[in-house]
C-alpha cells in the first residue's frame, strides 16, 4: 500500500515494484504456496489509506501488508492492522514516533529519521568542518520533522543554526534565498522532497549562495538534478536510510538491478531494494511453513537474513536492527552512491 498515483508517487512505485519482483521470484520457485500481491493506492492520503485498509481486510482478506509507504498513513492504519492482527512491514515510513506505539504487528526495514538526521549532520560536520548551518524545511510533517532533528544534531555538535521554511507548492523562494545569503552558512540542509528542493537549489545558486546543500531521503532522486539544473545540483549531498544501487557493481546489487530492469524496464530507484526486502521477509516466513497472519508475525520476530539493502532483523518494537545511513552525491549531473556514512568520501 502506498501512493501509487498521487503527488509523490515517484517515491512509492519503486518499492511496490521491488515487492512485486520478490513475489514473482517466489511464485516461480515455490510449488506449494502461491502468493498473490494486491496493490492499494492510498494517494498518500491517510483517510484513503484507512478505507483501503478496511477494504483489504474485509474484501480481499489479506494475510500481510507491505506498507503503508508514508508515515502519516502508517499512523492511521497501524491501529487497524493491530486490531486485525495483520503483520505489516513498511519499506519507507521513517517517522521516529511510529515505533513508540507498542504495535506488535508493525515493522519497517529502514532506519527512522531520528537516526537519519543526526547521521547526516555528523557526516557533514566532519566532511565540511562546518561552523554555521542553515536548515530549511517544507513545513510538512516529514520535512519539518527531519529538519528539527538535523537542526538539533548540528547544535549538539556546536554548529550555529539558523532556520527558515518554504512552501512546497510555491515557486518563489526569494525571501528564503535572501535570508540564507545574509546568514552566509557553511552548509545548508533541506528537509523535504526533491521537487521543491530542485527549485530552491536553483534559486540559491542564482542568488550567489555557494555553500554545500544537503538533504534527506525524500530528495534522493535523479529528478532533483533535472529540477535544479545540472550546474546548480552539482555537489549536493543526500543522505538516506535507503540503498539505491545507481549502477553499482557490487555483485548482489547488480543481480538485483538487472532482474529489476529486465522486469520493469527501469533502474531500481528509491526504496526498491527495501520494498523487495520487506516482501522477502514475509516470503521467508511463508516458506518456513507459516501461512496465517499470526504465525507469520511470530516468525518475523526471529527473522535474520541478508537482504539486498541490509541485514534484515527486527527489534522487538518493529524497528530494523541494522540502521545504516547511506550518502549520495550529485556528480557530473548524476546522483551517485558513495557508501554508508562511515565510508563515504565527498569529492
Amino acid at each position: 500500500m502506498g501512493d501509487l498515483t498521487g503527488q509523490d508517487s515517484a517515491l512509492m512505485i519503486p518499492p511496490s515494484q521491488g515487492a512485486q519482483l520478490a513475489v514473482d521470484e517466489f511464485n516461480a520457485k515455490s510449488t506449494k504456496v502461491k502468493v498473490e500481491m494486491v496493490k492499494y493506492d492510498s494517494q498518500g492520503n491517510p483517510d484513503q489509506a484507512v478505507t483501503q485498509t478496511q477494504q483489504a481486510l474485509t474484501q480481499d482478506k489479506i494475510t500481510a501488508l507491505v506498507g503503508p509507504g508514508f508515515s502519516g498513513e502508517s499512523r492511521n492504519v497501524g491501529p487497524i492492522l493491530e486490531q486485525a492482527k495483520i503483520p505489516s512491514i513498511s519499506a519507507s515510513a521513517t517517522n521516529p514516533g511510529l515505533a513508540e506505539n507498542e504495535w506488535k504487528f508493525w515493522h519497517r526495514v529502514v532506519a527512522n529519521d531520528g537516526v537519519q538526521g543526526p547521521a547526516i549532520a555528523e557526516f557533514l560536520v566532519k566532511a565540511k568542518s562546518a561552523k554555521k548551518a542553515f536548515v530549511i524545511d517544507d513545513a510538512q510533517e516529514y520535512g519539518a520533522g527531519l529538519g528539527d532533528v538535523v537542526a538539533k544534531a548540528f547544535e549538539s555538535q556546536g554548529v550555529k543554526v539558523e532556520r527558515d521554511k518554504i512552501d512546497p507548492q510555491g515557486s518563489d523562494y526569494s525571501s528564503t534565498v535572501t535570508k540564507v545569503k545574509a546568514s552566509a552558512p557553511d552548509v545548508i540542509f533541506f528537509g523535504g522532497y526533491y521537487a521543491p528542493l530542485g527549485r530552491l537549489l536553483k534559486q540559491l545558486r542564482d542568488g550567489g549562495v555557494t555553500a554545500v546543500v544537503s538533504s534527506g531521503d525524500g530528495s534522493v532522486d535523479q529528478a532533483l538534478v533535472e529540477g535544479a539544473g545540472k550546474d546548480a545540483a552539482e555537489g549536493a549531498v543526500l543522505g538516506c536510510p535507503c540503498l539505491i544501487p545507481f549502477g553499482s557493481d557490487v555483485p548482489e546489487l547488480k543481480t538485483f538491478s538487472d532482474n529489476y530492469k529486465a522486469k520493469f524496464g527501469t533502474d531500481p530507484l528509491i526504496y526498491a531494494t527495501e520494498g523487495y526486502d520487506a516482501m522477502s521477509a514475509f516470503l521467508k516466513a511463508i516458506e518456513a511453513g507459516n501461512t496465517t497472519s499470526e504465525k507469520i508475525n511470530e516468525y518475523l520476530s526471529t527473522i535474520d537474513f541478508p537482504g539486498v539493502s541490509k541485514q534484515i532483523k527486527f527489534n522487538p518494537n518493529g524497528e530494523i536492527a541494522a540502521s545504516v545511513i547511506h550518502i549520495y552525491e550529485v556528480k557530473d549531473g548524476k546522483v551517485t552512491w558513495l557508501g554508508d556514512t562511515s565510508k563515504a568520501q565527498l569529492s
Binding site: I166, G170, D172, T178
Partner: protein, 322 residues
C-alpha cells in the same frame, strides 16, 4: 531583528517587486473579467498555466537547450511572448464560450458560474496532468511532476545598490510588466473597444441600448485578460524554470488577493495591489519567517478591506472621470 531587516531589505525589495509584477499581470485578468461580468473567474489560474506550457512547447519546438544572447534572444523572446499570449488569450475565450456563456444565457446565478469555473479549473489541471504533459511533453507517467524549462539567458548583475544586486532577469520582469500595463491602460482608456469595455462595466443594460455588442465586449475582455496572464506565464517560466499542472493555483489565489487589495475592477489597482502584495510578503518574511508569508498577505488584505471596503483604489474599470 532590525539588523536583519536592514541587511535583507534591499534584496527582499527586488524579489518582492519581481513576484509582485507577475501577480499584477495575472490580477489584471481577474479584475477585467470582474469589472465586466461581476464574476470571479476561478479558472484564470489555469489560463496562466496553459500559457506557460505554450511557451515551453515553443522552446522545445525550437530546440533551445541553453542560454541565448543577442538577436537570437530578442527574437525568441518575442516569439515566445506571442505564443503564450495567444495560447492564454485563446484559452480564455474558449473558456468563456464553454463554461460561462451558456450560464449567462440562462440567467444563472453568479454562484453557478463560480462552480462552473471551479469545474473547468479541475478539468484543465487534470487534462494537463493526465494527457498533455505525458503525451505532448513526452513525460509518460510523470504528469504530476514538475517539468523543467531550459535557461533562456544568463543571469548577471546589472548594477548594485549597497548590498543589493539588481539582476537582469528581475529587471526584465519588472520592466516588461510595467510596459504591458501601460499598453493595456492606453487600450482601455483610449480606444473604441476600450470604451465599450468601460461602458459595459459601468452599466451593461445602458451599454446595450447604446449599441454596444456585449458578447463581443465580453469576448475581448477575456482575450485581453488572458493575454496578460500569458505575458505573466512567460515571465514566470523564464524566471523559475519549472512548470507543473497546478502551477497556476497558488499564483491565482495570490493574484486575486492582489486584485482585491488594489480594488477589484480597477486596472491600476491591480498593478498597485500586485506590487504591494509582493513587497508585503517578502518584507514580512524577514520578521516572521517565510512560513508566515500567506498569513501576512491575507491579514493585510483583511485590514485594508476594513478601512477601505472596496480596496485601495476602489472599484471601477475606468479612471475616475473618464
Amino acid at each position: 531583528m532590525l539588523n536583519d531587516f536592514i541587511s535583507q531589505v534591499g534584496p527582499s525589495t527586488v524579489g518582492g517587486l519581481a513576484s509582485g509584477a507577475i501577480y499584477a499581470l495575472i490580477a489584471l485578468g481577474y479584475t477585467m473579467v470582474y469589472g465586466v461580468l461581476r464574476l470571479i473567474n476561478f479558472a484564470h489560474s489555469e489560463i496562466f498555466m496553459i500559457g506557460s506550457f505554450a511557451a515551453l512547447f515553443v522552446i522545445n519546438l525550437m530546440g533551445i537547450t541553453g542560454p541565448l544572447s543577442g538577436i537570437a534572444l530578442v527574437g525568441t523572446m518575442l516569439l515566445l511572448l506571442l505564443a503564450s499570449m495567444a495560447a492564454s488569450g485563446g484559452a480564455a475565450v474558449v473558456l468563456e464560450r464553454v463554461a460561462y456563456r451558456p450560464l449567462r444565457r440562462r440567467g444563472a446565478s453568479r454562484l453557478a458560474a463560480l462552480i462552473s469555473a471551479i469545474g473547468a479549473s479541475i478539468f484543465l489541471q487534470e487534462l494537463f496532468a493526465l494527457v498533455i504533459i505525458p503525451e505532448v511533453f513526452d513525460r509518460p507517467s510523470q504528469g504530476r511532476n514538475q517539468v523543467p524549462v531550459p535557461r533562456l539567458f544568463d543571469r548577471e548583475t546589472v548594477f548594485s545598490i549597497g548590498n543589493t544586486d539588481i539582476r537582469n532577469d528581475h529587471l526584465f520582469i519588472i520592466v516588461a510588466a510595467v510596459v504591458m500595463m501601460v499598453l493595456l491602460d492606453i487600450f482601455v482608456n483610449r480606444t473604441r473597444i476600450g470604451r465599450g469595455i468601460r461602458a459595459t462595466s459601468q452599466d451593461p443594460e445602458t451599454a446595450v441600448l447604446m449599441g454596444v455588442n456585449i458578447d463581443s465586449i465580453i469576448r475581448t475582455t477575456f482575450l485581453v485578460g488572458g493575454a496578460m496572464a500569458g505575458v505573466a506565464s512567460l515571465l514566470y517560466a523564464m524566471e523559475f524554470e519549472n512548470l507543473r499542472f497546478n502551477v497556476g493555483f497558488l499564483l491565482g489565489v495570490k493574484a486575486f488577493t492582489a486584485a482585491v487589495l488594489g480594488g477589484i475592477g480597477n486596472l491600476r489597482g491591480a498593478l498597485l495591489g500586485g506590487l504591494m502584495l509582493g513587497l508585503i510578503e517578502n518584507w514580512g518574511s524577514i520578521f516572521f519567517g517565510s512560513e508566515w508569508k500567506d498569513v501576512i498577505a491575507f491579514s493585510v488584505l483583511v485590514l485594508v478591506l476594513l478601512f477601505r471596503p472596496t480596496g485601495i483604489l476602489g472599484e471601477s474599470l475606468q479612471r475616475a472621470r473618464a
